[in-house]
Symmetry: D2
Subunit: 361 residues, 4 copies
């Protein structure tokens, strides 16, 4: 399932950065889920470039629900949402045709597709495709919310500026979901300065984003290849900019002893909980009833306006690349709703598998 994800609730993505439209199909959603166009628009707005921190490409994201909704609710048939591309400038790409942009998919795609790939704006590899994902994901997020499952992602680190990790559940999830620039501490201005400084130097910055999910019961996931961390990681690494995923204390666990890292069980108001959550809510591949928490490493955007050494894979010669298009100096803000959407879709799938196709109705 190359461009599809899931077992009972299945996402399929299609479209290219400079094609007429991009789209997503979400199949297997329970019938009867309210589809609120305003909340789709709100999620798209969070992902949309705006202001000086983002690429200058301006897309209104005038999405269209093509199927799967009737009288304002899901029908149980595949939900398809389409979004037109309107602000494309293919000429930016034509003049660099054959020049492999460093740390982009251009060269690998050229080998894979033998020169038939749509090279305009990364084609099907483009982050633009995530708009369609965010649109259908908004329906999944709403369905989960109605079941008491909250998902939020904030910027834990942008360049050298840090936010604090989630520690107050679910208050901090609501906090960051209410912000355009999702951070817990008042570090927005500092992060923005960091991004704008990178832009001024024709450069870009990366960061770390952190996601938390509350309200999940224990027992979701499978022991081996459909482990909850396995299916989440599969989804997350499909985003081009994500180069690392860790659950709970993740890489920091490497420096702990078992007695430090183990999450002691306890009772809180009669419910079984753990005192710490180094496991990130997942043990042995299963949710354990604690908040599911994970971090993703986001690499600095590879499109930068500095001259870069590269190779022309059409001529087989070394060359210098001057990118003149419209670049994102950072995507840490805009990637947050994408991760929320993917997480929601994965969880809808897990819940449907465990409790049946009508569970989210």
């Amino acid at each position: 399932m190359k461009n599809s994800l899931g077992t009972s609730v299945i996402l399929t993505l299609f479209g290219e950065s400079h094609g007429p439209e991009i789209g997503a199909v979400l199949d297997g959603l329970a019938p009867g889920i309210p589809v609120d166009e305003a909340s789709i628009a709100a999620q798209l707005a969070r992902r949309r470039p705006q202001g000086r921190m983002d690429t200058a490409r301006r897309e209104p994201d005038a999405f269209r629900i093509v199927s799967g909704v009737f009288n304002g609710k899901t029908t149980g048939a595949p939900l398809c949402i389409l979004i037109p591309n309107t602000d494309t400038r293919s000429s930016d790409y034509e003049k660099n045709l054959g020049l492999a942009r460093p740390s982009h998919a251009d060269y690998a795609a050229h080998v894979k597709y033998g020169g038939y790939e749509d090279w305009r704006g990364c084609g099907h590899f483009s982050g633009r495709i995530t708009a369609a994902l965010v649109a259908v994901g908004a329906v999944a997020l709403a369905a989960l919310s109605a079941k008491g499952v909250r998902i939020a992602t904030h910027i834990l680190r942008c360049g050298e500026v840090n936010d604090k990790p989630f520690s107050d559940f679910p208050a901090e999830l609501d906090l960051v979901n209410g912000k355009d620039f999702p951070v817990i501490l008042p570090v927005e201005a500092e992060m923005e300065n960091c991004i704008l400084a990178a832009r001024e130097q024709n450069d870009s910055v990366g960061g770390v984003i952190q996601t938390a999910v509350t309200g999940l019961e224990a027992g979701l996931g499978e022991p081996w290849f459909d482990a909850l961390d396995s299916v989440l990681a599969r989804a997350l690494f499909s985003i081009g900019g994500i180069k690392g995923v860790e659950f709970g204390s993740g890489f920091a666990l490497a420096g702990m002893t078992g007695s430090e890292a183990n999450d002691a069980f306890c009772l809180e108001s009669g419910r079984i909980r753990t005192r710490t959550n180094h496991s990130g809510g997942i043990q042995g591949g299963l949710s354990n009833g604690m908040p599911v928490v994970f971090q993703c490493a986001v690499k600095p955007t590879p499109s930068i306006a500095q001259p870069q050494q590269t190779v022309n894979f059409l001529t087989g010669e070394e060359a210098v690349l001057h990118l003149t298009g419209r670049h994102d100096p950072a995507i840490v803000r805009r990637i947050c709703p994408v991760v929320n959407a993917l997480t929601a879709i994965v969880l809808c799938d897990q819940l449907a598998l465990r409790y049946g196709t009508d569970y989210l109705r």
Copy 2:
């Protein structure tokens, strides 16, 4: 595919820690691949507990090829290998029945399976199952090796002791594949001391392991959900002890600028390469012809011989757990062949998808 992994080459795992046998089925392998029992035995030996650094459970791993091999070669039908369990002591687990071992799957499994789970030695969640995976993976490793694809994993960090990252390809891969304790620098004694010190304190340590793959052509993987990093991460997170996965510079990319992180393309003897490999050989979800490099965070083994606070999920009361069984103070060494096996199986699948089912013959 709960306990299965793959699209064209498909792995299925079954068995429990204290059942009669564990097993793995590897379906879709090309016909005509030599199956060398000595190399299966050698991979199993690398995974086997031995000496004071590992659990005292001693299993001879007397594997048996049940199907899929004829005249010493794969037939193209499913390859099944079974390994008996011989050294089980269920009594160690009986006395703690109901006591959720911290950072183990016990409690979540109890919720998921409603009390029907085989709780002896973690049942199907046990690392013991990885022996079967390593056995069939040995055939995959040999098939890849015949095609010039090398895979190696070493201990990059054990507790506070560090090895150096891979930098000399493929020499360092051969080096660590030739060692019982896979490290590049002469840090074996230091790491062993670290592990034995933890054991003396009835504790355990974690670490980081690093894997490299050489000889892969560019163009393997897919743009979205079968991205090469997606399928590898899905496989890797199925191992209970792994809590983080990063490709190339991974989380360190969060602190770099684009101009630092980008891998400039260049020509080396007429071949397209990158000067650096912060991308870990994967760009846009596709292999780019550079070594594929990734790190996994391994948590400290959760079974420790110290009293631990917990809850008895059968009685709903808080309790103190005294584990008296046979514990691993660290699994960083033994997890390396498991990661190699999984990586080999994922790559066989990718190669079969791209080049056809007979490619590995």
Copy 3:
């Protein structure tokens, strides 16, 4: 994969009979396949209602390629084609809301979807959706044709009128592919009379269609669940009107002895062939190099203009149904291109699995 089909080449369908658009995504096609809009239009024309033998709904099928094509060739990214619905009359359905149309999906869909289903014109169950399937299937057919694989379907039986089975390969395949009303013998007028007679009696007729595939090499398929007959049958039974599928002599084999039914092998110009083809080109789930031949039983169209006894599932009362909409008195002609399209997509998947993703380039 509820509305998806395939392993390496994957079809996904979406849309409803009275929604704005229907669509299909075909993912995993090799890059570099020419996409000829005229041949898509030609296949759509074969499926389109026309004249008095078909429903009066008139759709121009003004398809739109949304993704996956660049410079007139497939890119390797998902191919999506959309077709607007223009001639919908939902009022025909409103007045019968709750009345289960006999031998339609209405009632079962109502139970499954809990009343949230789009009941207008069968919603997602509608044969209308097959237009999108035929559109993407046209690309698959052309790709196969370029590899020497021909597919054709003719009406073997319509009501009580029979055509002859395929016996002259590939000449008869070309013959029926060149006709609007695909039959081998000159039985078109007789069949049309049969259909028009049914229409006059406010009734409908069924039939049998026969498909042949030539040019397939031996060895496609798998021994068990991806047997070539298994994957074809799965695809074929997804069409609502198909109630039986048989390969080669099919049900007639029940009355033969082994000595009659066995297909003796022989040499023809040095190639291994069988003298008879009772097996329909598939033995043990694998193609054997002979033409693949199968028949599908097509039930009479269930929408008829006679009063029918039924139940109103909204009120729980018995009722009489008077269907006044636009009905097909037979679909045997229009189902032929749908079966060709599905067969082509299944075979593209099988060829890609066996020979790799670039095989059809």
Copy 4:
């Protein structure tokens, strides 16, 4: 999933006719299902050759539960059952090596596997493998039975001898499930004579088997590729001897008009039913609450003791084949429990998808 079937409940088959053991893994079954070894043995007995009507190969089918069962109940982990092969005579096959047995998979398998296939007794293509399938299927059958779902298969036709179709539900299902030779009418002796007559002429006979399922609620299945008929047909055609599958009136629908074929809805004791069941309990791919009924065409066993014209695919010469092994003159009796097992597994999967993984507990 070459040798695997299912989405939430997944069957995997492995083993060869003359290998040490054959096996099946059934993953995804609910925990807590009682596993009764006597009922497994009983199903195996129904499939086992015995007497003069079957092959002389005698296998005790001493099955062994390897995993997935604890304290007599399923655990939710993969259930694996192994059955040793004991009565193999590979010499029967050695002497005909290279001679393609007509209507067997030999030749196609040789092309597919390049000569590496295990040719002894059809290897992995052998009907012997179905013993493992029947063993795990017995657990699925029992689980369904506890939920009120009954499955039965009888011999509707053997050579020229006919039984009557199912018409009395569920009484006739219990009737045939209670018989060694599953027929409704007292036609056992006549069918046996037919089989023995074929044997005396060194020949074989085919037939038709009919399966009925009662107790299924409406709404199982999906509109398109996971239509209930699609998933059943996929499973059924994986059995080598099955060359046709039809639901309800199947091919007979081709000769009916809509007014004859349509199943009028009615109320029976307040429940919605249909007066006739030409649809075989499936409309639009969904169960409609009526008994699911289908027929499978079973070809005459291709191994016959007459000289047959063939080709030696190793030498490329025409040859005459004299099969001297132990042959089945008919498999219509022994295929019935196999179809029951497959049907049960498919329905467990469908129920788990619809109602969740714990539904069958």
